[in-house]
Amino acid sequence: MPNHHMPQGSLSLLVLRVLEGGPLHGYAIAQRIRQLSGEVLEAEEGSLYPALQRMLLEGWVTAAWGVSETNRRVRFYTLTRDGQKQVKREIEQYEQVNAAIRSILYA
């Protein structure tokens, strides 16, 4: 069972990253994050949807209603051009911060 929470601020990066592979609905996003992290990271519903709302407002993703593989009405989120740029920016930032943390931890 996954029991690790997201490091702060990383959720949007992960969501954007997952969406680079193509449009997904919310539940699928959560599942992908879980799968790709080897069931270590869990995108909780309570933070996933507010984060998606924010991204919609920022214009990084667009949303369209569709039908899921299990025949439910869901919203599919698609990465925009702005979103693609944002992924790059956030990865860069993440690398910088990660390097900084590492240099402290293993100094």
């Binding site: 609905h25 919310g26 539940y27 909780e44 519903e45 309570g46 949807y49 507010p50 899921s68 439910r72």
Partner: protein, 871 residues
């Protein structure tokens, strides 16, 4: 958005397996989180605050009782005054969107109105009305109406009864948006041809009284003034009247007026300004635009019809404006009582603020404790304000009871008449809402400052202060008490103003009632006639009146009998615009509007009005002789000051213009409209030279009980014309009591109760402050006594401090009073306010000293040993 999110999440949840469901929790809570739905928290916190507040108030029931009673008195006084204001001025017209309905009409720019020469209404002539209706664009519609009195019988063969109704323009109901309950409104063509369409719409009242609420009444014929009218509709109950006071029994088209006894030329003469005109503004049209349009129309009418419309401007008034201008005395009364009630409320709020302040030290510790365990300051202020709100709402509820007592008092105001009047004082939902508003206002007056001060309490000082209130060697004006001292002084000041005002009014009213109105009150019977109902010709009318007076006088028990078009103290005033000979009017003014009475030769004797100079009218002052008048002393001194006005002349604007009227006599100035009016100009004219437009009153002076003459006099009238209805039969004594005496007694009672309430509240405030101060100074007093002060000295010391408060308050109060009394003297009688000051000041001083004495005596009885062990 909200819904989409909810759908999306429920889809998410459905997609999850059973075991994951528990981990994710409820959709609802998550939705709340993602929308920051903690907006509901305030309700929960309010509930908490209310609970704390209730407990905190219940802990100190004495405080709560005094606070609630103080507020109840303050709010109740305002509630009562509001219901008076509502009846006299504010109540909206009983039509949809009443605020769009405005009053239009003409005003003579060059006519001045002598003081209290009656009512400043905006009348309009029918031709002017037609122009307003057809040539304006800012109104959805414009209507005209006037009252009409006629005999009405529910069936063609039944006995007629005198009824007051309205003749209205055909669009009346449509423009006012009143839909008949039964039948239909007037059709446009029913208002086109004079005398053609004999149709009538019944008021709800008449339909119930005369027709037993029979729903088949539409289409039936009724007899009015001898003519068959077809009932076409019945109005709904809620449409009582477009007039503020009189409920019409029926409505007929204006074009039928001439057939119901109205003069035929009323519909044609541009100078026959007898109609009230109201218009409904189109949606969104500001009244200023309508005013400009009417002014422009008036200007073009001035050019087109110089003979009749010269100097006539046209005005637009809101309903409130029109009501204020119609009877300014009502507005003055309302303003005066509102100011008094506001003063009472201020004193009440000062009381509660004082009480809250003396609770502040104790509360400060509680607050400090709560701050210490992490409460925010805004939260504490909110808590304190919630408590104040609780007090105010409780005060408001009790206050409504106090207000109702006031309403019961005002309900005694009556106007004895056969007219279906609606002078209704009640506690309607508007009064309740107003009281609630006042309660909330009072919170901001008494609750806010103490709340902020208490919550600002310094944490450490408050917690260290220990069990008792902080004591120190401070007088009343020490840092902590000066605010409360100022409040108490202010209370004494305001209540002194209240009491001097009351006393001033009381003395003034008592003096004018004692002086009498200047005419006979006892042994006088009044009886009204409206010969237009009987369709008399001018000659027949004269003959009828002549015989009526002759036969009345020959009745046993009758000393004299007279005719008059106006009875003092009634509201049916008669007025003329006159132009005194020679250039006696101010620049730009060409005529003066003066109240008038058309009387016969016996009037002055019967009414008991003495002539100062010259002669009364004679039988020979008739149509073909020199026109004469009797004026009162006030008018004589205004336009012929320092001269003998006998033989001087004036002309009358309008009827018989150009002819001089010679002054034959000067009568003593009496009261005309109210006991309290200042001396007003007045002119008497012989009725034979100036036939009245409508009705005359027979005045009979009796040797014995006047009411006993009612039956024989009715017999006389029946002998002359069995079809002529008699109305408003009353003795002058009854009428005068109801109109002149009772109204003022009620005003005095209202004013006096406010004065006493204010004084009572101020005394409670003073006593409370003194008692509190003494209790905080017990230790100091003990020390003083231990080192040799005797009881007398302590008593004097405390009394002195009370005296400083009382005297400074009274000084401020006297200064304020002179201002208030000066304002009052412009509307109310009273020679010198000195009497009022002399009566009130010592009394207030004595009572305030008593309020200070009781705590002072307690201070003097302090046992030094106990006092030193205190705490």
């Amino acid at each position: 958005m909200d819904q989409e999110l909810a759908d999306e999440m429920s889809a998410h949840r459905e997609m999850m397996t059973e075991d994951r469901l528990a981990a994710f929790g409820s959709t609802l809570r998550l939705r709340e989180d993602s929308q920051a739905a903690w907006g509901w928290m305030w309700l929960e916190r309010l509930w908490q605050d209310l609970n704390y507040g209730r407990r905190s108030i219940a802990r100190d029931p004495g405080f709560a009782l005094i606070a609630v009673l103080s507020l109840a008195v303050g709010i109740g006084a305002n509630c009562a005054v509001f219901s008076l204001a509502d009846t006299l001025l504010l109540r909206p017209l009983p039509v949809p969107h009443p605020s769009d309905v405005v009053t239009l009409g003409s005003r003579d720019l060059t006519a001045t109105t002598s003081a209290t020469a009656g009512y400043n209404i905006l009348p309009a002539s029918y031709p002017d009305y037609r122009d307003i209706r057809d040539r304006t664009t800012n109104f959805y519609g414009v209507v005209a109406y006037s009252f009409i009195r006629t005999g009405l019988a529910p069936r063609l063969d039944a006995q007629m009864r005198l009824r007051t109704g309205m003749q209205v323009s055909g669009n009346f109901l449509d423009v006012l948006e009143v839909k008949p309950e039964l039948g239909r409104s007037f059709r446009p063509d029913e208002d086109q041809v004079p005398g053609r369409d004999a149709v009538v719409i019944l008021s709800h009242d008449l339909w119930e009284q005369e027709f037993g609420a029979d729903r088949s009444v539409v289409g039936r014929e009724v007899r009015m003034s001898g003519i068959a009218f077809t009932v076409i509709g019945v109005l709904p109950e809620r449409f009582t009247s477009i007039d503020q006071w009189v409920r019409p029994a029926f409505y007929v088209p204006l074009m039928m007026g001439p057939r119901l006894g109205q003069a035929a030329d009323v519909l044609e003469g541009r100078d026959r300004r007898f109609f009230t005109v109201k218009g409904r503004l189109k949606a969104g049209v500001p009244i200023s635009r309508a005013r400009m349009e009417l002014a422009a129309l008036a200007a073009s009418l001035q050019k087109a019809y110089a003979a009749t419309n010269k100097n006539q401007t046209m005005e637009v008034r809101t309903e409130l404006d029109a009501r204020i201008k119609t009877v300014p005395a009502n507005a003055e009364l309302v303003v005066m009582l509102t100011v008094l009630a506001a003063a009472v409320l201020l004193v009440a709020c000062a009381n509660v603020a004082g009480l809250l302040t003396s609770r502040a030290p104790a509360r400060a510790r509680e607050m400090a404790l709560r701050v210490a365990i992490g409460a925010g300051r805004t939260r504490l202020i909110r808590q304190l304000i919630t408590e104040s709100l609780l007090l105010a709402v409780a005060g408001g509820i009790v206050g409504i009871g106090v207000g109702y007592a006031g309403v019961l008092l005002f309900r005694q105001i009556t106007y004895p008449s056969d007219l279906p009047l609606m002078i209704t004082f009640d506690m309607n939902e508007r009064a309740l809402l107003f009281s609630l508003g006042i309660a909330l206002l009072s919170v901001s007056l008494f609750g806010l400052v103490p709340a902020i001060r208490t919550s600002r309490a310094d944490l450490t000082t408050a917690l260290k202060a220990g069990a008792g209130p902080a004591t120190g060697f401070r007088g009343f004006f020490g840092a902590r008490l000066w605010g409360r001292s100022a409040l108490v002084s202010g209370q004494v000041a305001v209540s002194l103003v209240l009491l001097t005002t009351t006393m001033f009014l009381y003395l003034g009213i008592r003096a004018s009632l004692a002086a009498g109105p200047g005419f006979r009150i006892n042994h006088l019977l009044l009886m009204n006639f409206d010969p237009s109902v009987a369709h008399y010709s001018a000659a027949q009318e004269h003959e009828f009146y002549k015989r009526l007076v002759e036969r009345s006088r020959s009745l046993p028990g009758v000393k004299s009998a007279a005719l008059a078009s106006f009875v003092p103290m009634t509201v049916d005033i008669d007025a003329f615009s006159i132009v005194p000979e020679g250039n006696r009017l101010p620049r730009g003014i060409t005529s003066v509007n003066v109240m008038a009475n058309r009387v016969d030769e016996n009037y002055f004797e019967t009414a008991g009005i003495p002539l100062v100079r010259g002669r009364a009218f004679l039988k020979t002052d008739a149509e073909k002789t020199q026109r004469v008048a009797v004026i009162n002393e006030a008018l004589a001194s205004h336009y012929w000051p320092g001269q003998d006005a006998i033989g001087k002349r004036f002309s009358i604007v309008g009827a018989g213009a150009g002819e001089w009227v010679e002054i034959a006599g000067i009568a003593k100035t009496t009261k005309y409209l109210s006991t309290l009016e200042p001396p007003a100009d007045f002119v008497y004219l012989p009725y034979r030279q100036n036939p009245p437009a409508c009705c005359m009153t027979l005045m009979v002076e009796s040797a014995g009980e006047p009411a006993a003459l009612t039956a024989p006099l009715r017999e006389v009238v029946r002998g002359l014309d069995p079809n002529l209805p008699v109305y408003d039969v009353r003795t002058m004594e009854d009428f005068y009591r109801a109109r002149a005496v009772q109204v003022y007694q009620i005003i005095i009672q209202a004013v006096a109760s406010m004065g006493l309430m204010g004084m009572g509240l101020a005394l409670a405030g003073l006593y409370g402050l003194m008692a509190y101060a003494v209790s905080t100074r017990t230790r100091e007093i003990g020390i003083r006594m231990a080192i040799g002060a005797n009881r007398g000295e302590v008593l004097r010391m405390v009394l002195r401090q009370g005296l400083v408060l009382a005297v400074s308050g009274m000084a401020a109060g006297l200064v304020l009073s002179t201002g208030v009394v000066r304002l009052l003297r412009s509307t109310f009688p009273g020679d010198s306010p000195l009497g009022a000051y002399l009566a009130v000041t010592p009394a207030v001083l004595a009572i305030t000293m008593l309020a200070a004495y009781l705590p002072a005596r307690r201070a003097a009885r302090v046992d030094p040993m106990t006092a030193l062990r205190y705490e």
